[in-house]
Amino acid sequence: MASGSVLNVSNLTKFYGDFKALDSISFSVDKGWVYGYLGPNGAGKTTTIRTMLGLLKPDQGKVQIANADPSNDPIHALRLVGYAPELPTLQTFFTGEQLLDLMGKMFGLSIQNRQEKTKQLLDLVGLASWGNKKIGTYSKGMVQRLSVALALINDPLVMIMDEPTIGMDPEATAQFRNLFTNLSKEGKTIFISSHLLDEVQRICTHVGMINKGKIVFSGPIEQVLDTFTQQWVVEAELQNVTESIVSSLKKLDFVDDVKVEGNKLMIQLKEKKDFRGEVSSEIFKQKGVLLSLNLQKITLEDAYLRALKGGQ
């Protein structure tokens, strides 16, 4: 296992019959990382998660969580893991309090600890007034909230969440995004599978991208943006575009090319650096009136789409 990593997946392969759902995937997640796991439907995200938890038997490769293999040693591997499945189907005959209590028992928590945690977590996920009601009466969003609470009952070192905010309203989504950020600040490692790229870009420190059962990228979020950015562009909107401004900009060392689109200049940079200061100075020198100046960096969505197309 890599030094400092709490979750390590190496050469994991999983077949469903003849279909290769995971093709020798490898990645590792260090303590304190918020790792976003991205991929289109059917790419293998949920299969990865279920194999990581020992629910699926890998055909090849192995998973280690806190130095233990969840498939062979679930007692040690899973005691530090909190898991919130995608669209969870919980035991509807229990109340929220009863299910939290049961899960607390499964982690060997004392009665007092379970009672305290149950109250605290129901409050945290906004279900304090629903704790004594049967789960069968909960809405989809409430079940999702309870699922996150269940994943926190053991104060986990690693939280594994499969589409945790699916079915939640925008307010709850924002609330949970803050929760995950705060948990990360507390030192928890968070592994999130999500389709919401904006959400991932906001809260994740690292990302892994999977497509057709293969990892196409795994690393820091800045690195993914950098890797899949072909060229940085400064977009300058001027009151009037003159030939002198264009030609002077073209002469700058860091400028590759300048394209004119109406009263906008698209200044293509040779390096992936922020040269807005230098660009604005040059425009002022040429008596240009600058209305706006933006650095067009790639978004995670662009990077994701390029990664799925093989980096093109």
Partner: protein, 276 residues
């Protein structure tokens, strides 16, 4: 928390799950009602004479009443209780929640098995008590009541075969309906075939037919309690020590085989996603 603690958590869970299922409660009510009807019928029959040929003496009617009252129902409850035990977790998608916790699959399996089996024992205890109380109230003073706990244990032990069979089918097929249908099918087919072999033996077909008849699961499951009572209470019926030993061995062998198949399936395969 040790392995026993984790198994105990699943036993508790299984109790609550089974009790939450209305079909189990309905079966308990039906079993108690059926027990009461048998006792009422026996008391009405007795009103035609002081004894009934083939039923033993009235002072031992509690044995007859409890054995006959539960002979079929307890096997049906065993099949229904075990048939949903594993499969309903797959059907409802709740197996993921439980098996992603720090518990081994074998601990989970033991917990599920024992939880369901203890629930079945509780139902049987209830119906046995109802049968004895009604026999005292409707028929009069009863003898040999000190053997009631043993008879209760014998009945519970006799359910192991079909409980284990249904439990195994529940895990192997991961569908409660198919598990129950197969277990019921085996119960009926085994009863019929065992009876045919018994008839062939009685018509001089040789001892092989007797062994075949006894080797099928229904014979041991349905005869073990009465064979034990034959041994304990002289005069209640005919005594056949060999048959009692055979029945007790057959029950445990079938139960172990069925349990091991279920364990093999759970330990060596993926946890199915929601199927229901």
């Amino acid at each position: 928390m040790g392995a026993l603690g984790r198994v105990a958590v699943i036993i508790g869970y299984e109790w609550r799950r089974a009790i939450a299922k209305k079909k189990i409660l309905a079966l308990i009510i039906l079993a108690v009602l059926f027990q009461a009807l048998v006792m009422i019928a026996l008391s009405r029959l007795l009103s035609y004479g002081s004894s009934l040929p083939g039923f033993g003496t009235p002072s031992l009617f509690w044995i007859f009443g409890v054995l006959e009252g539960q002979g079929l129902f307890v096997q049906l409850i065993a099949i229904i209780t075990a048939g949903g035990s594993m499969s309903e977790e797959y059907e409802h998608g709740t197996a993921d929640i439980l098996l992603s916790k720090p518990i081994t699959r074998l601990e989970y399996l033991f917990g599920k098995f024992l939880g369901g089996f203890f629930l079945l024992a509780m139902v049987e205890a209830l119906t046995t008590v109802v049968g004895i109380v009604l026999s005292l109230l409707l028929i009069g003073a009863q003898n040999s009541l000190e053997f009631a706990p043993l008879m209760f244990l014998a009945i519970v032990y006799s359910t192991l075969i079909f409980f284990s069979l249904s439990f195994m089918c529940s895990e192997v097929f991961r569908g409660s309906t198919i598990a129950m249908i197969i277990a019921f099918g085996v119960f009926i087919a085994s009863s019929v075939i065992s009876s045919i072999f018994g008839v062939l033996y009685n018509f001089g077909g040789g001892s092989a037919y007797l062994y075949l008849s006894r080797g099928l699961p229904t014979w041991a499951a349905t005869n073990f309690p009465s064979l034990l009572m034959d041994q304990l209470i002289i005069g209640f019926g005919t005594t056949d020590t060999n048959a009692l030993v055979q029945a007790s061995i057959i029950i445990v062998v079938y139960a172990i085989i069925f349990f091991l198949i279920a364990a093999y399936r759970l330990v060596n395969s993926d946890v199915s996603k929601k199927t229901g």
